[in-house]
Every structure is written in C-alpha cells, then in structure tokens.
C-alpha cells in the first residue's frame, strides 16, 4: 500500500510539474540562476584559493652560509629544520650548485660571464631554501635558526629583509579568504531566500486547490507530498540547466582567466571534480526546492 501511495505522490508531483508550464519555467529559471550563482561563487573561491596558494609559494626564507662553513654543519642545520613542525620543505643548494644555477640564469649576459671567468674560485654561498606550511610560521622558523647550534656558520637569514612583504602577503591572503567566505555566505543566504519566495508564491497560487483538497478529505501528507516532489523536480531541472550552462561557460572563460592569472586553470579544476559538483548541485537544488515547498505549504495546512 505504501508503494502505491509513493507512486501516486510522484505521479501527482510530476503531473503538476508538467502541466503548470509557465509556473514551472519561471520557478525553474529562478532556481537555475541561484545555482549558477552558487557555482560562480565556487569558481571565485577556487580562483582566490589558487592565488593565495601561489602567493604563499613565492614566500620563503633563504639561509646563506659563510663560505667557510663545513658541509656537515650545513647538513645538520638542514636536518634540524626538517624536524621543525612548521617547515614544509628545505632545499640545500651547495656552492657549486649555486654557481651552476647562476651561470644558467645569466647565460645570455656576456659581461657577467666574463666577470665570473675573471674571478678566482666561487664567490657564491651555499644556502638553504626553506618553505613553511603557513606564512605565519616564518617568524618562528627564523627564531629557531637564531638559536641553532651552528648559528655562527650562518651568514644571513633573509627573512628579516622580507618580513614586511611576508606580513603583507599574509594579510592579503587572510583578507581574501575571510571576505570570500563572508561574500559566499551572504550571497548563499540571499539565493536561498529568493528561491524560497519564488516557490512560496507558486504554492500561494495553489492556495484554493489546497483548500479544496482539505475539504474533500485530503490529509496533510496527502496534500503536501506532491508539492515536495514538485519542489524537488524544480531543483533537479534547475541543477541540470545550471550545469549545462556553467561548464561550457567555464571552458570558454578559463583561458582568459589563465592569461590574467597564470597558473589558474579553472576548467581543469571543475573537470577533475565534475562528479562531486554534479552531486552537490543536484543535491543543493533538490533540497532547496523541497525545503522551500515544505515551509511554504505548511501555513496552508492548518486545520
């Protein structure tokens, strides 16, 4: 019997969805816009996260050793840093490697090459390139180096010169993240309210029908369930429309975004996580539609 009831509820909801074409188009259209807005926010969040990440990656500390420093001491300092929890990675660049890298960087510069040839020996220092897990942890890393047993072998820790820049980058990153979150939340709330009101108006137009169903003896669940199905259908169709609009749009816009912000490949991100986004959008649309219908219809079901 319950199977029959469920089948009836779905059939009624589907029939209502099909028959009220103007209402269906209007409501589905509004929900599609809402879901597109949501996807747009996801894209913006991705772009800002990528920017934040690339900014963070540009930040590091370089520890320059004195030319007289023994290799074992430098390796010991490297090991100490590797064991420090705030450190993400430490790269040791020997004096020879530094010279090779220098020559490669300035391969086209005849003057520099001639000057190098004039010099006796290698003027460059060995160094450690240190990246932290978090930009806020560079100060702690610099402090730990100050206290290292081989501090006397260290010539320069360039954190102090870059401290201000690092601080500014950290502020920008946090600002982007926080404001991004606030904007996302605010726009999501607005989107939910718009959807809710649209569906509420749709059901308000059905007020007389609902009243008649109550007079004929329809119980609350008998009357309300098909509207929940209808709300879910609005959400599902809106989700489908939103995705078929969004993905081609991102595909065409992504190269332009990459030209402005190198390293930001928006389409690849959405392609790689396609299944997750499909589930999220269909899920969000369905839940939004059903909850809006449920809240809207409750006020008409007071006996």
């Amino acid at each position: 019997m319950w199977r029959q009831t469920i089948r009836r509820i779905f059939n009624t909801g589907w029939t209502n969805f099909k028959r009220n074409s103007y209402v269906t188009i209007g409501t589905t259209g509004v929900m599609t816009l809402v879901l597109l807005l949501f996807l747009g926010l996801l894209a913006l969040n991705f772009i800002s996260d990528t920017i934040i990440q690339s900014l963070n990656e540009k930040v590091d500390i370089t520890v320059y050793f004195k030319t007289t420093a023994a290799e074992e001491e430098m390796i010991s300092v490297q090991d100490d840093l590797k064991n420090f929890s705030a450190v993400k990675s430490v790269e040791y660049i020997s004096r020879d490697q530094a010279l090779e890298d220098f020559k490669v960087r300035h391969a086209g510069n005849a003057l520099i090459n001639e000057s190098l040839a004039e010099l006796e020996g290698n003027p460059l220092q060995a160094s450690l390139n240190v990246k932290a897990n978090n930009t806020s942890e560079y100060a702690a890393i610099a402090n730990s180096l100050e206290g290292n047993k081989f501090r006397s072998s260290i010539d320069k820790i360039n954190f102090y010169e870059n401290e201000q820049v690092i601080g500014r980058i950290e502020k920008i990153s946090n600002g982007l993240r926080n404001w991004g979150l606030v904007a996302t939340l605010m726009l999501s709330v607005i989107a939910v309210l718009v959807t809710f009101n649209t569906i509420r108006l749709t059901i308000y137009n059905q007020k007389q029908e609902i009243e008649i169903m109550r007079l004929v003896g329809g119980s609350n669940h008998h009357i309300s369930m098909p509207y929940l199905v209808e709300g879910a259908l609005y959400g599902l169709f809106a989700g489908f429309l939103a995705l078929i609009i969004f993905y081609p749009a991102v595909y065409s816009v992504s190269p332009k975004v990459a030209r402005l912000m190198p390293g930001v490949d928006t389409f690849s991100y959405f392609k790689a996580n396609a299944w997750q986004f499909i589930i999220i959008i269909f899920g969000a649309g369905t839940i939004l539609g059903m909850v809006s219908s449920l809240v809207a219809i409750r006020r008409f079901l007071k006996i």
Binding site: I212, R214, G217, N220
Partner: protein, 227 residues
C-alpha cells in the same frame, strides 16, 4: 443521524450567526434548508465539515461529537461526507477523471478500484464523454455534475449541497436536483442549502426555514418554501 444541539456560533468574536439551533436529521432524509441571505444556512453546513466551531452546543453524527475528534481525524470525517458547493470547488489543474479519483485516492483506493469506479460514476452524472476534460473546458452544469460525482464516489452517507444550483440556469438546476434526489433514493442523507423556492417546492420533502440565525419553521413532510 445528525444532531445539532443548542448550537450558537459567532463571527469575529461578537457577531452572532447561529442562535440556539436545535435540529435532528435522520438517516436517508432529504432536507432543504432555506431562508434569506445571511440567515446562517451555509454556516450550519460548515459545522458539519468542521470548518468552523460552535461557540456553544454540540454537533453529533451517529453519536460522535464532531468537536471531540482530533485535528488528525478531521480528514477522515470529511471523507465520509460528500460536499457540493455553489462555486463547484473543482481542482483546476486536474481533469474530470482526476478530480473524482482524488476523492478515492485520499481513502487509499487501489488503482484498479479507481479505474473501475470513476468512469461508472462519471457515467451516472452524464459526463462519460468529458472524462479527460479540465474544469475550464466544462459548462457550469457539467462542472456541478462533476462536483457531484466527486462527492458520490466514495459512497458517503451524507451529502451536503451548499447552493448547488446557485450558478446554474433552470435546466441545469433541475438536472442537478434530479441527481441529488436519485442519490437520496439510494439511501444517502442529502442536506441541501438553497434559496431557490421553485426547486424546494419541486422536491416536496422536509424543509427547514431559517431567519437571522434561528430555525423559524420545520416542515417535516411535503415541505414548501414559504416566503
């Protein structure tokens, strides 16, 4: 048996609509409730479907006080009573078949029962050809016949008809009346509210006359609408 015992109702807190109404209606009766506009006729019917509550008094159907039942039981009550309204109250988004079928769906009838019974009832009211038509595609008379079909489909013991011919021409009015009388002959109690004197006098059954919220006359047999 329907018993209305000493019922008074008010509107907006202090406007009295019904004043100490006492009325007993036996099973299988055909009762016309007549009176001028504002007499309280429709309000009397609304008590029986529990659309309104009395300020004082009791309304009993087969010994059960309608206002002792819970809100959850109200739909069950309404399924036992067929209602026909002046403005038809059809579901505009459903066709004729679906309008009638809805009344069966709410009582949990199977698809087979619905497919079997609905065409039969539509045939009884003369709407076999209009089974897939929507209310906006029907004439006034057809709409009212559809409403009667919906009221009949789950074989209710009581049919309440509130000005069923109010929006109909003479011919359709008599068609509707004939249907109601036919239903009554099968044992259903019919309570018809109307201000159509000719119809009432045609029926020739019990006539309860109301004025200003009171019952002023109750002609149990061969009743006439006397102005």
């Amino acid at each position: 048996m329907i018993e209305i015992k000493n019922v008074s109702t008010v509107y907006d807190g202090d406007v009295e609509i019904l004043d100490s109404i006492n009325l007993e209606i036996k099973d299988g009766e055909f009762v016309s409730i007549v009176g001028p506009a504002g007499a309280g006729k429709s309000t009397l019917l609304k008590l029986l479907t529990r659309e309104i509550r009395p300020k004082v008094g009791d309304v009993l159907v087969d010994g059960v006080n309608l206002f002792d039942i819970t809100a959850r039981e109200v739909p069950l009550l309404r399924r036992k009573i067929g209602t026909v309204f002046q403005d038809f109250k059809l579901l505009t988004s459903k066709n004729a078949f679906e309008n009638v079928a809805f009344a069966l769906e709410v009582v949990g009838a199977t698809k087979e029962e619905i497919d079997n019974d609905v065409p039969k009832v539509l045939s009884i009211v003369g709407l076999s050809e209009k089974i897939n038509s929507f209310p906006h595609q029907l004439s006034g008379g057809e709409k009212q016949r559809l409403a009667i079909a919906r009221a009949l489909i789950h074989r209710p013991r009581i049919i309440l008809a509130d000005e069923p011919t109010g929006n109909l021409d003479l011919v359709n009015s008599y068609d509707v009346l004939k249907l109601l009388m036919k239903i009554n002959e099968l044992g259903t109690t019919v309570i018809m509210v109307t201000h159509n004197r000719d119809l009432v006098n045609t029926v020739g059954r019990r006539v309860v006359t109301m004025e200003k919220g009171k019952i002023v006359r109750d002609q149990v047999e061969q009743g006439k609408y006397i102005i």
